[in-house]
Symmetry: C3
Subunit: 383 residues, 3 copies
């Protein structure tokens, strides 16, 4: 029932007889947004290299809960703009984990929709950010490849455990691998030295100055970029654009989550640098987006997404303080854990809005197919 | 079979023709002890406010494994005696988490038997105890409400995971939320400063003096009170009385567990202040009570309850030392973890004594319905 | 099908008409290798004490993934050679946990194959190694007995959780109990003082000297011995011999894993003392052996065993650094966790090689019965 509902949307999205220029533009836009299933079907006859590129681009977009190769391309552009070295590392981590998935013989459908790439990419990006050996330190490619491969290994093992409760593997492998890598190498390693992570709760070293509002607003946008460890405005806006391309609803969730998370950070008086660089915002943004992606959109689930962003933000501060005591970052542990909790909610008022993990697409499509399904259901019961 | 067995007990507990004064007193006492199911049935026609009060009072008693509104009232009295501010915080946390359960649409049966209140209450009480901002610091009501709501959120999510193994959610949400809250705020937060937790294993600062036996004995009783963060004798005795009202067997378990736990603390030479204030005793008391509540009473399970109290006590010292290294308390993590382990025991000699989580009432009733059930079983096999 | 396959091997292993001396030696050797199922059957008529000894000897060999009473006897000899006090502690821990299993009423089959002894033995050995009170400190027998009993308690509880995914309980109970014990007692306890554990990543205190190759090679062999906390060459070789007796393939895995793990340690520039004493090697050895024992031997699974040894080694360095920050050792957490992950792998290329937990014997027998099974399968499909 659900799959035919989706088919129907796709038919409507691509009118058979495009009229003027305006209609053509709209039709092209509709083609590029959402999951781009048509491209996926179209690609099946193409060469392996082209197909593989599509998988990788989808994998990149998966980091931020999207599933659209164009969004992936936009994000790669953003990373190149930020730092070509980081973009190279990210691509290598992505390749390493996707190839490992093929070697392990993971489910073909999962591999081709990019589900085995995003953890490797994130590990690579964070390894690059925390390395204190500077850019173009070629030895770093070694742990990047190994770390990327390990994420697939962990994904493959966690899947049977988590799927008992219909939970996605999410970024658990990334968080595990990066924390182990940083604990393994430490700050004084002769081959792979890292910067220590600062806990956000340490008292300000400078005198208590006024909060700078424009910087704070910039921090909110950077919060979306920080999901890819991007700390500058341009790339962050590009990444936000990539989200918008897949689903405007998710883009709103990302920004809203970042705002809530930044406010939560202020209420705990974290260091200003955390607010300005977006480090306070990204867990809230992710927490808000998870509810947006995995639940049918309604005012109830909207409140839930706000609650989850708040919970995510506070949990992040707590975990950052705890892990910061041994010089480790909390990465996206907070959003991953609270996101997993929210997906397990059993309350009757929210259970019906939860989309089964395998059926999740963009919020717009989810809403549409849900309505269709409800109508069909009503018709059946009428008869 | 079991439910009819319970019905039968209740009928016997309320003789139809009360004779003299003595019989009336006994009948009233029997009415007030145990689960007070009659009151629960009686309440169903009353106004929502009255019903809600009953749920809340049951929720308070749930903290210490009881299910009796009168016990709840006694405990509230004990808290008021100890500190009105603490009692206010506890009630607010209880309200916040119960209301969240109603908003989330949790199972009505669970809400009305107080299963969604006790975690919120505990979080609120501990927030108050650790706050270094003094009593009547009104800003604290904010985290109390948020923390209470979060416990329900976590309860609702943990339930489907734990019920696969027929485990109760127990106080996992409370322990998670309070540790995260204290890690998030820390000791130098400008809005919500806390006292740091002391690890019990740090060497005594004063010279090695003689152990004071009367203070030690008082510490045993305070161990029961410390389940509600009560550190004075009067309220602790009231709380012990509340346990006795629900089930004399559980009250014995509570005291026994506290004794064992205090002895375990002495064998590890923890600081005297931990022994005297009951902080050494409360995890053992809980560990002992869990076995008392979830297993049919017999000499075998009695040995198990002693073993679990011991295990709980040593685990608590270990966790307190570990978490104390970053200034955090171990709360009741030890009793919760060992209690969960004991409920999972697969050994044939104990499996038959385990009561399914949904059927647990007071140990006396459990014993009774078990005997009934055994008799019925034998009769059936005879025929 | 599988069991008849095993029967057939055993029949072939014991030719009915032994000819000359050479054949008799071979027949005796074949009798002593592998699982020695014939001895197990033979023992069933003997006195309880003899049977119990066989169970205990099997339990000792279980520590290192074997199941052979003669291997167990060899290992006890190695421990006696290393330190009689340690051998005594190990035996006591083994007895305590096996007896607890009998008291709890655990499955008889499990008890008699030594599955409830090895965790207790390991706890006892590590308690002895870390105790700074010196040898023949008789008070240590108390925690050894309690710790041994607790491992059975935890095994019994973890089993129903882990068996949902067909996972063995492995050495989770040992690792939990020893970390809790060391955290509970600490380094300055007046009754049970311990040495603090050193994190391997702390910079060398001496000047950077050349690596000593012969000591490094010795460290590889010691890596196998360190599974039993043995730090000298003779006993380590005896333990390696015990592995060889059960299965030459596993012995190769043990050495290979230790080599890989030592190389991994060098790549992270851990302290030389860790490389020389085998502390760097033992987690890799275990990680490699787990794949060797639980997967049908083939070149694919051989690559997997190398990958797992590598992962195990790096995880061990990370965990040792983390736990070392609070003065605790990482024990075999790394190998246990990565081993559990590898057993959960869902990739199609490895899934078919995984042996169900209950059917695991020596790699040679596994390979044989797998081939038989495959042939039988082909025949069936032919018809």
């Amino acid at each position: 029932m659900d799959s035919t509902g989706n088919m129907w949307i796709l038919e409507k999205n691509t009118p058979q007889q495009p009229g003027g220029l305006k209609q053509r533009v709209i039709s092209a836009l509709l083609y590029c947004t959402g999951e781009m299933k048509q491209l996926h079907t179209h690609m099946k006859d193409k060469s392996f290299l082209l197909q593989f590129s599509e998988w990788c681009l989808r994998g990149i977009s998966r980091v931020i809960l999207l599933n659209n190769p164009l969004s992936g391309a936009l994000i790669i552009a953003a990373l190149l703009l930020e730092s070509p070295w980081q973009a190279l590392l990210g691509m290598l981590g992505l390749l390493a984990s996707t190839l490992t998935a093929i070697i392990l013989g993971q489910d073909w459908e999962d591999v081709s929709s990019g589900l085995h790439g995003f953890n490797g990419m994130l590990v690579a990006l964070l390894m690059g950010i925390f390395s204190s050996a500077g850019d173009w330190y070629w030895w770093l490619l070694l742990p990047v490849c190994l770390g990327g491969a390990t994420t697939t290994f962990i994904s493959s093992s966690l899947a049977p455990v988590l799927e008992r409760w219909d939970l996605p593997v999410s970024v658990f492998p990334f968080n595990t691998v990066i924390v182990l890598y940083l604990a393994c190498t430490g700050t004084s390693n002769p081959y792979f030295p890292n910067y220590p992570a600062q806990p956000p709760g340490t008292p300000e070293s400078t005198n208590h100055t006024q909060l700078h509002v424009p910087q704070l607003l910039q921090g909110v946008v950077l919060g979306v970029g920080q999901i890819f460890a991007c700390g500058t405005l341009g790339p962050s806006l590009l990444i936000l654009g990539a989200v918008f391309l897949f689903s405007p609803v998710l883009a709103v969730h990302a920004l809203l989550g970042s705002v809530i998370s930044t406010v939560a950070g202020m209420s705990m008086s974290v260091q200003y640098s955390f607010l300005y660089t977006g480090l306070s915002g990204f867990n809230g943004a992710l927490g808000c987006m998870i509810v947006g992606a995995f639940f049918i959109f309604s005012w109830r689930t909207h409140l839930l997404s706000i609650a989850n962003a708040l919970l995510s933000a506070y949990t992040d501060i707590a975990l950052s303080n705890l892990l910061g005591a041994v010089g480790l970052p909390a990465c996206s542990w907070a959003a991953t854990l609270t996101g997993t909790l929210v997906l397990l909610l059993t309350g009757e008022n929210f259970k019906e809005y939860r989309i089964p993990t395998g059926k999740v697409t963009s919020p717009e499509h989810n809403l549409h197919s849900h309505k269709q399904w409800s109508v069909a259901n009503t018709n059946t019961t009428d008869v």
